[in-house]
């Protein structure tokens, strides 16, 4: 609605006409060229899907963690100096404990809103890690890690590890009985590492366990080093999101070359900005109503007592579970040195597991050899083998995780502890195979169903009697927009081995071919236009219930032979 006059007028004049806001904008722009950023990003399009909010939840809960954590630092004393507790919590009065524990109790019982902030901090941390985990699963199962986003997957993976490290260092800080036992376990694990373990433990704790140093050191890691790295990596993670532009789910109108959605200003600013308040609000709600980490029930750390049902915060559970599930008697002494395989093996298995997670994008890229950029997500069913591998990984993790509660499972369900462990040991090995097989079959079945629906429509539930007396159910065709979702996906075939330029087949090529076959031998081709035309070639606008429709049902079932892989 600008007139010719204002368009040609200098920016300063226009700013004047805009009043205070205009003058301020002009002042800032002349010093920051912020208008360039607004022009560049203000109308940037973001696609819409509920699953894209998982990463947002992680980001926002991290902001809440920073806010609540800063509050806590004003009151917390990261010191293991012995003090006599003299705060308001009567059962612990007069007890000797570290200054860290005493100040954590003061935050909980003597500072208004202190307990609330502690619980906001703890709940936000749990939500942070949970949402990162779910975000990663979303990325994995939709194939969002494919080119050009492999490196961003690695950054996200590192953030996940750092988040767990933040969690562990954080819940150790109050120096209570439960977290002290957690540190004791870390100490025992570190000591089991060959050659350097004893010394690493010694240096970490500043002498013998527990020493008087560890809380202060963890505090530095927890509030300075780790958050700094996390902030930097989150920034990088988001820069990549901007550079790559967000992925989108397949759908009508969406292609690999476009982004369809809503602009940052105003819609995404409102939705994402509002969502921050929702996340913060939900965390505040949980902190107000649900107790988390009641350190006053545990008491100060003492190496001697421990309560039954001891287990770490849930996200460390998989590591604790691995320690529980290791087979017995795995330790021997060789040349006067102790090889604690009951420690080394779980560490190695966990290491292998998480490294596999990290490098998976590169493995898949190597198998497919696909060098194209992928901005359209896969529906999980359409990448059956990947989805099945994911399910196997999830069940492996889940069994380890369940194992961290083996004793609680045993007491709760009145089972023998030994049986629970043995069943979980069995499931740890067999579970992933079952999960892989079942998931793959489900994916293929869903693909077949999609194919069937794309070609023949869905069952409408209307039964019609034909003049000849035959009963038939009317199939309702999809409209082209709904159908598009079912027929547009990436299709790979197993790699054919071909000799290289020297006329030989390298062994690497053989491996790749066999992995490729394992990935793609069961593929189901997407419906082609010819098949579609053939299946309802009598006019797809056919009125449901017309004789044409019935014929299409019959001819359709006959024509499926056009896709040999599907049957």
């Amino acid at each position: 609605m600008t007139t010719t006059d204002t368009r040609t007028a200098p920016a300063a004049d226009r700013a004047k006409s805009g009043g205070v806001t205009g003058a301020l904008s002009n002042y800032i722009d002349e010093r920051t060229s912020i208008s360039v950023a607004v022009k560049e990003f203000g109308r940037k399009i973001f696609p819409d899907h509920w699953s894209f909010m998982l990463g947002e939840v992680a980001l926002y809960s991290f902001v809440v963690i920073l806010l609540s954590g800063s509050f806590l630092t004003f009151f917390f004393q990261a010191s293991m100096a012995e003090v006599e507790y003299s705060g308001s919590y009567v059962p612990l009065k007069g007890l000797e404990m570290s200054a860290a524990m005493a100040s954590a109790l003061d935050i909980s019982f003597d500072i208004r809103g202190g307990l609330l902030m502690r619980q906001v901090h703890h709940w936000a941390a749990l939500l942070f890690i949970a949402s990162i985990g779910l975000h990663m699963l979303r990325i994995y199962f939709t194939g969002a890690f494919r080119k050009p986003r492999e490196l961003n997957w690695v950054i996200g993976f590192v953030l996940f590890i750092l988040a767990m490290a933040e969690g562990f260092t954080g819940y150790s800080l109050p120096d209570d009985l439960l977290s002290g036992n957690g540190l004791r376990i870390i100490d025992g694990m570190v000591k089991g590492i060959p050659v350097v373990g004893t010394w690493i433990s010694y240096l970490l704790f500043g002498g013998e366990f527990p020493g008087t140093q560890i809380i202060g050191r963890l505090y530095t890691l927890h509030i300075l080093l780790l958050p700094a790295i996390i902030v930097a990596l989150i920034a990088l993670h988001l820069v990549f999101v901007v550079v790559h532009k967000h992925t989108q789910y397949p759908g009508p109108g969406k292609t690999n070359e476009n982004v369809i959605g809503y602009p940052v200003l105003p819609v995404y600013a409102a939705k994402a900005g509002g969502f921050f308040f929702i996340v913060f609000g939900v965390i505040a709600f949980m902190a107000a109503f649900f107790t988390i980490n009641p350190i006053w029930n545990y008491g100060p750390y003492d190496p001697s007592p421990v309560s039954a049902g001891t287990q770490p915060d849930w996200y460390i559970g998989f590591a604790d579970g691995a320690l529980r599930l290791v087979p017995p008697h795995l330790e021997f002494v060789l040349w006067d040195h102790t090889f604690s395989w009951n420690i080394i093996l779980p560490i190695a298995v966990l290491g292998l597991f998480i490294v596999t997670v990290m490098v998976y994008p590169f493995i898949e890229a190597w198998v497919t050899g696909d060098k194209r950029e992928h901005h359209l997500l896969d529906r999980p069913r359409n990448a059956a083998t990947r989805t099945a591998i994911g399910a196997a990984g999830v069940s492996f993790y889940a069994v380890l995780w369940a194992a961290a509660s083996s004793d609680i499972i045993a007491t709760h369900f009145k089972l023998a502890m030994e049986h629970v462990i043995h069943v979980l040991q069995f499931l740890l090995i067999v579970g992933p195979f079952i999960a892989f097989y079942v998931t793959k079959r489900i994916c293929l079945a869903l693909q077949k169903k999609d194919r069937e629906i794309a070609l023949h429509g869905y069952e409408s539930g209307r039964i019609v009697r034909l003049p000849g007396g035959e009963f038939i159910e009317v199939h309702q065709q999809l409209d082209e927009y709904e159908r598009w979702k079912l027929v547009s996906y990436n299709d790979y075939q197993p790699l054919m081995i071909r000799p290289g330029v020297d006329g030989k087949i390298s062994s690497l090529q053989r491996v790749r071919a066999s992995v490729s076959r394992w990935f793609f031998e069961d593929r189901i081709e997407p419906v082609s236009q010819t098949e579609l035309d053939h299946s309802h070639g009598h006019g797809h606008a056919a009125v449901a219930g017309s004789p044409d429709q019935y014929q299409s049902v019959e001819s359709g079932s006959g024509s499926a032979g056009g896709a040999p892989h599907a049957h």
């Binding site: 109308r43 308001s88 809103g113 609330l116 906001v120 050009p148 036992n181 004791r184 376990i185 000591k191 089991g192 060959p194 004893t198 013998e208 527990p210 550079v243 109108g253 476009n258 982004v259 369809i260 105003p266 409102a270 939705k271 921050f276 308040f277 929702i278 609000g281 939900v282 709600f285 001697s304 007592p305 421990v306 320690l323 017995p328 330790e331 002494v333 040195h337 102790t338 604690s340 009951n342 420690i343 497919t368 696909d370 060098k371 194209r372 901005h375 004793d407 030994e418 082209e480 927009y481 159908r483 027929v487 547009s488 790979y492 075939q493 197993p494 490729s516 081709e525 236009q529 579609l532």
Partner: protein, 358 residues
């Protein structure tokens, strides 16, 4: 080399990249169904009926007013529900009302703004065009040119002596940092040696955890179990470190109920046995004693030890039995240690070596 070419001679690094990128084993179907394009836009209730949009606006503004009230309410609760010393219920109320009002203030803003975005803001979908992430051929060529030029102007490639000595310096300069961390732990002690000894020694009394009262052999009845620390631990300078190694469990069994291996005949006193409480797996206190079976259970990772058989491992990840503390009684009838443990207690470590064979 760069100096062979003028800037104008530079061509795209890899002409193959100008061709379509390899799709690997992907099948590109010529006969694929064509993308039907965006479905027709669907109007919302508010788009069709301005009155409904107005009603939505009023509803959202009510949410924002509620938020203002809740924020003020949070401040009011801060004072209205103070923490009263020695009254845990007051803490609960303070947390509850403060938290609930803050949550309400935040949620109403969030829900209101999101609803505004979804129901009232212009909702026509926009389209952005993607560009390949890689720079254009010209950009890449220019980048190569810049590096070449920098190389030429600096002599980085040509002056090998300069370059290699600089690389050497870069490798060397972080090394001091490694040594700086040595003093994380005291230099005077050897950790492996420290781990071999505890506070227990000949004649040290077994006392109750935590009060330090000495234990008479006659107090230890059949079937009872005591959590034990060495006498003087509570006054020790390094109380927790010593306790983390010296904690002991004391039990009395019928002499016929347990086996004693050669060399350990005098380690128990009249059926009273003392075992290290520190798990040989990763060091949790093995605190759970089953009186009927005389099994000890570690609550952390479920290792089980059979006291009837000198604490041998009968289940779980631990490998070694809990070390036994040799005990006897002194002249006054109090239980005392005969010596320190004869092997290191607690989790395994690299330098632990083969104590069992010594």
């Amino acid at each position: 080399m760069a100096n062979d070419k003028g800037a104008g001679d530079l061509v795209p690094v890899d002409p193959e990249h100008s061709a379509p990128t390899s799709a690997g084993t992907a099948v590109v179907h010529r006969d694929a169904v064509q993308n039907p394009g965006l479905p027709p836009h669907r109007l919302r209730v508010g788009d069709l009926d301005p009155k409904k949009a107005d009603r939505t606006e009023r509803g959202i503004s009510i949410l924002f007013y509620i938020s203002i009230v809740a924020s003020i309410g949070a401040i009011v609760s801060y004072f209205a529900f103070p923490i009263i010393p020695d009254n845990p219920a007051s803490v609960r109320l303070n947390t509850l009302f403060l938290g609930a009002s803050i949550a309400l203030a935040l949620l109403t803003i969030g829900i209101g703004v999101v609803h505004w975005g979804k129901a009232l803001m212009h909702d026509h979908e926009g389209v952005d065009v993607r560009h390949p992430v890689r720079g254009s051929d010209e950009t890449r060529a220019r980048a190569v040119e810049i590096f070449d030029q920098a190389n030429k102007e600096s002599g980085f490639g040509r002056r090998a002596l300069l370059r290699n000595s600089l690389i050497g310096a870069f490798v060397a300069f972080p090394l001091p940092a490694i040594f700086l961390f040595r003093d994380l732990a005291p230099t005077s002690d050897d950790p492996a040696a420290e781990l071999r000894h505890t506070m227990w020694d000949k004649g040290v009394r077994l006392t109750r955890d935590p009060d330090g009262a000495p234990i008479k052999a006659s107090d230890v009845t059949l079937g009872s179990a005591f959590h034990v620390i060495p006498e003087g631990l509570n006054e020790s300078e390094h109380k927790l470190e010593e306790k983390a190694k010296a904690a002991v469990l004391l039990m009395r069994l019928k002499p016929s109920d347990f086996n004693v291996s050669p060399g350990r005949e005098d380690w128990n006193y009249d059926g009273i046995v003392a075992y290290s409480k520190i798990c040989t797996h990763v060091g949790c206190p093995v605190a759970l004693y089953e009186q009927q079976t005389h099994h000890l259970l570690c609550p952390c990772h479920q290792s089980q030890f059979d006291i009837k058989n000198e604490a041998e491992v009968i289940f779980g990840p631990a490998k070694r039995p809990l070390p036994q503390l040799p005990i006897t009684v002194d002249a006054e009838g109090y239980l005392v240690a005969r010596s320190d443990f004869t092997e290191p207690v607690g989790p395994s470590f690299w330098e632990r070596g083969d104590y069992d064979n010594n």
